[in-house]
Symmetry: D4
Subunit: 251 residues, 8 copies
């Protein structure tokens, strides 16, 4: 329900075409849809700028499919993250156009017709420190692409071999925003943040062992970055980093 | 040292005007300056887009003053954070134009002549959840203003009284980027992130008692925000949030 | 053993009908029953107001069945939580009237005859923030219903889409007590607590990933709620929330 | 602004006495009041059932006094917690009727005229495990009394000397709700919860040393209580426990 | 090697029957035995008073069997804890006299001939708070019995139903030392410690969920016990508690 | 109130000399004494074997003095721990016989007449790893002496210089129970526990820096001791260790 | 690319044989090789002194094999750690000379021709506290041997039976550097560090249960070692310890 | 007592010049010295290669002075760390040759006559990431110099401005061992470890705020370094790093 629609409604009340009680009811009838186990927020795109994304983990396959069906019916597309193979195969059977990225664990039903995007033209660069960080980095890249952005990737450039990063200077300087995905000590965002003037979004991963404590070491490292202006999202949260990058590029 | 200067240097080597050994030395002579206890990075502005800021905590007053003197001599201005009253008074005596904000604990010597800014025109909105969060919020606001940005403030709009936030809709919608400062459970960024399409930078504060554990509760709450795209900086790090916001608005 | 029975016993001692030694023995013979691995507390209902509930996790199927048999033999009913499918099927084979809720993981053998309830008439409203929180929310709802209370449910109303919660105002205002189940940042109880004057019981769930640390983030968020008067139970402890709500409504 | 006032406003819109634009403005003009550093929520009593309470810690004395002055001007009374001696003396000078409880660290300006209370008649019993827990227990008791409730106290009845608790059976059974304040291992709420059918609110305190970790041990103990239905508030949060108890008794 | 043997050796040196070099070698030849992956400490009984016990977890079945074979060959008996079913079956095939307690996860090969014990006559009482704590309690009981002590058991007497504990007064008063095994909030040792003058050894278990954090809650509760003189062993360490109790009773 | 007195009372009821109601009242009149802020447990000695000890920290000087006065009036002696200099001087003025140990922070008023002790004859050996651990070790030693035990001390024998410990073999072998006080990595109890067959009580101290985390490192080290049978008390809890040792020696 | 090669290149620029642009490109063409998911750092040996080692955990078998193929092709050898059985069998099929150590979980393809080593002649002694620590100790030993060092092993010499360690004095004194692997309380490095003047590298293992918290207890113990000069690597990181020892011995 | 002395003693026993009993006593008379509160280990230099160093924190000034007096009397020199100004002034008054470094908080009484050192000729390079890390870095440097080593310093070269580090290549390559001192995210050792083949000892500092948690973030970062072979000492433990470096260089 847009602001214009609300203004029109209030004008109707003023003119007597709609009673106050009826107006109250309409205002309550907000654009979400009830399933027995979920409320789908069809208007999130208007409010936050991005359509609702289905976080598949912790939901049964039946629940995921039902939600995706409703999203597809209303908007012609959907995007899901943390999709298991079982969920992906169920959806593929139902939506032949589905794009499943097993490394990123994403399922995407793109819109059938090309849509005029407000995604802006800035490049989102996704950097990963090691091979083991790739699933999280790919999740970020795939989500950003699904939102209509131009994405570049730079892989396996950890701080213990800095020359590999330094050699990629051109690619670094092209980016409008950089997502840096790293586990272990999480030092890469500090180095990138010290080299570039653009926004840097750090994603700690749970890669590591021993005292990495499931990504805590990388998370703390990034929060304490000596390069000012680095911001951080949750451990392994490639999706969140992509949404944050999209908010920056789009505006 | 700009890229053009380096190209010129290499051309000089090619033409024989400079020997390889001499070129090597020049390339090593990078634009920082040695004090016995610090290296001032005069070229950070070129590289990262913002001049170096002095973090005063953990330095002696003598060290802070010496660093500020060098920065003032080279660039005509400086900005310091976490300045104690003692440090501020020392600097005020030496730099009559100094602006000291005791709530934000900042000291700022603005440039004497107005400078052409590349700060962009977007508004940075700083929201604080409670009165006790104000020092951190002010640090963010003062730093962003020192960087040349337009800053707006919205204070004391915690989630337990959401109508106060909802009533500020116009101000919220004007912002290009929002900094949300909150202690206790740190829930405000989730609510703001769910209402707006622009970037939201969350700053947890150490305000609270008992199981807030010095801001840990707010930090974890913000990292786990159910509003996708919220990014987080360190506890009480208003400075870092301002730098991140500046990176977003400027580009 | 009721207070009246104890008074009677002491009177018997006074009158010589019972010797002091015999009285001592009777007082010791309290109404619990010994199995080799458990003591069943048949009088908990008199003392605490609710019958003993079997926590099935960490017990073997044999132990659970043996305890339920004794409870059924004495009181004609039992209630179990955290029941695995294996345990539920064993019990179903033995007690055809058994109600098994696989989402809530509860097994309930209701009393055969309707019993006069002192459960009171207040409504217990169970709110869940997301679809993944449903198992915990259902556990709370099923337990409260088994105790004879009227329960309403409101699902998937997280703080990132507050309009969904705001639209449910009538339902909120009907409740005598509200149980709010939420994972991730655990912010929903603060919002609900700020809207309503009734008791709010917050249940953190282990839903989330990365720095949610198995529900710790939600737990700390709820303990630090800026809405005064919110109380908290253990992570994923829907059962405990239901008992607490029952204590409030019943009295 | 009451629901009746809002209905009247909408009726005015319907009848043309108020334009839609004006109605919109009025609806936005919610009953809070702006100070430069705080927004006072004069209508919290209508919404949540209790007037706003000033948390004095982390605010300057000037800020506390300014907020209290506004509350006194509008409602004729105020209540503050965590008040330092300095703040209390400042307020006492200005409000001769002020009641300062230095143990509980509360400042209370009661209403001049007796007000018809909806506080209900149930007794709130505040139990403290040790002498060192008294400041927190007193905070709970004073706040509950300020809200108009009948409060009883039971002090120094830790679980290592259970006979002291058992001897107080009558007092325990009179209560409509029990607040149990304990530090160290925080075991007292489990014992009380096992004895009584009424709601039990547990308040961990930071009393203890070594591995009590500032109240964490007591907090975890209470959250893991084997007596079902015990709910918990933040460490040292006597105020929150009182609000929760008030929500229970009042309804 | 006993002290007497060492004295004899030194006398031999003095008398010239043994050269200093040879004495040095003998002193070095201490009574342990090398396997490629373990050194068996056959003289631990002389030094610490108890024979070495095999902790089976983290060792391969082959390693466990090899160690037990050596212990059986030298001393005619062995005791293992944390034995998986696979290990137990392997040992049973080889040692028909083996006693395997699957609940306690212990394997015990008792000495063929009765040995004169210095175990003392004091009773070791093992109390468990709940049914789920039984494996740990049984480990403690079985180990103490293997050491030759008289053991009594008291099960399922958690603090939420204290009358069950109070009714066991005679059994409590008979004990020379009490081992109290409890998970969840770990409050039972405080209550027992407040009732009795004998040593109380508390064993936290990992039983519980949510914020029990694998037994941390119980561990902290026990360390902070308000009953002075309670000592604590590691989480789930029934074995350690039995050894500590044996040290107390034996002396 | 002794068991004999209770038996006599019940006999009086049987004979009609005492009415049931009066008996009930007498049974309730347990031997504690009410101060406004504390209940003194005069019969703890009968129940637990040791008189109540005053933990002075967290109590006001007035409260400590009042409690000590009552203890002195009833029993002729008292013992306090964690006494500040201010409290000690107040008590010294009032009780000239007071023994104040400023290192151990204890205040002790010994009984005027020698009392027949049931303390047993076993030696309690208190070992401290470093000079900085002495306050905690002294607290343990002083408390044990106040309870009538024979105490020996062995100081500064950390594991990095094991020969100092090994040289004290005779003293070690004399002890009936050993209290080992250590900070830093807390390894000393493992070494002592591996050398001796008697009970070993480990006391972690908060001595250390950096990642000792206030004694957490030592605490975890002691709980994970590879020497079976070592038990642990709270960080810096010399008092608790003394009580535990007394329970062992006395019985 | 060696320093000599770079000097030669700069000389070529000076002499006009190479244009500045071409030189720039050559300098950028650093000696790593791109796979789609990894960048192999063929020159790490020149820079850090050891060839790159493949950490197999968290990589798919296909990724591991592809990386090993490239390393074998370029250098004729490779070394991998944390190799699963599946990965080892895949590699064995392809490289018949492969040495797979299933206890250490290493895969090693040694160079076909003997190479002149700069490994130095110092002995690296690897000590393990218990049998369960062997996998980590073996990882350290195998890696050090693959680097060309002489390695000795000393197993199962925990601090609870110190005589086993003391008897190995000669072996201890031969070592140029000692790696000490221990779980549980992690005390062994302190004892070794107190006995020897050479570098001691401590490796905490995740062996233990309960409050060992996955090796945290051992890690903290080692960091707080009272034997100065002990350094620590990550939990279970035998590989890292071997690299550190190699850095020490080689120089 | 040297090995030669022990051999001589045993020979005396063999020849009858010394009785076995007397030999036993002599062997016990190890070379430490008893003060009432400390045992001074005069032979540590023989055993570990470095003389005992006095850790002044947590000791009274009287204790420090007494220990230093004994060390000076026996060896003519001493070294103390963490010395407060008060302690330093007391020692200066007594030992005019004392060297006090107030930044490093060290007190050093060098030997009067030059001693032939076995310190080796390798350079120990101490790198600090920021100005606030200087006290810890200086402690490391001063201790290493007191041990007779050649020390170089490189200050303020954090990873956010890597060019400052890269420019110091010559100095880096000269070092035999590098100590890297860093707070905040602790990333500098990873970068240094990736550049150099020599041993790298990382020292986390407590510099930082918010989620640095007193140095925990830096500590975890260093333990999880992606540059293999970096070893770590305790937070702020410059002393320990110097001892470790000395062990490496000296051998």
């Amino acid at each position: 329900m847009t602001a214009e629609q609300i203004e029109a409604l209030l004008a109707d009340v003023a003119s007597g075409r709609v009673s106050p009680q009826a107006a109250l009811e309409k205002l309550r009838h907000l654009p979400y849809e009830d399933l027995p186990f979920a409320r789908i927020d069809h208007h999130r795109e208007l409010r936050q700028g991005q359509a609702e994304v289905v976080f598949c983990e912790g939901k049964t396959a039946d629940q995921v499919v039902a939600i995706c069906e409703r999203l597809a019916a209303v908007s012609g597309s959907f995007l899901g993250t943390r999709a298991s193979e079982a969920v992906a195969l169920r959806l593929q059977a139902q939506f032949p156009r589905l794009v499943w990225n097993s490394l990123a664990r994403t399922v995407h039903l793109p819109s059938a017709e090309p849509r005029t995007s407000d995604a802006g033209s800035g490049i989102i660069l996704v950097i990963s420190a090691g091979t083991s960080d790739l699933p999280v980095a790919e999740e970020a890249a795939v989500v950003a692409e699904a939102y209509g952005h131009t994405v570049e990737r730079l892989v396996d450039v950890g701080v213990a071999g800095l020359h590999r990063l330094l050699a990629a200077g051109d690619q670094l300087r092209r980016a409008r925003v950089v997502i840096v995905v790293a586990g272990m000590e999480g030092a890469l965002p500090s180095v990138v943040g010290g080299m570039l003037p653009v926004p840097v979004i750090a994603v700690p991963t749970s890669v590591g062992y021993g005292a990495s404590f499931g990504g805590l070491a990388a998370l703390l490292g990034m929060l304490n970055s000596c390069a000012a202006g680095v911001t951080v999202v949750n451990i392994d949260n490639g999706f969140g980093a992509a949404v944050a990058a999209s908010r920056i590029v789009r505006a």
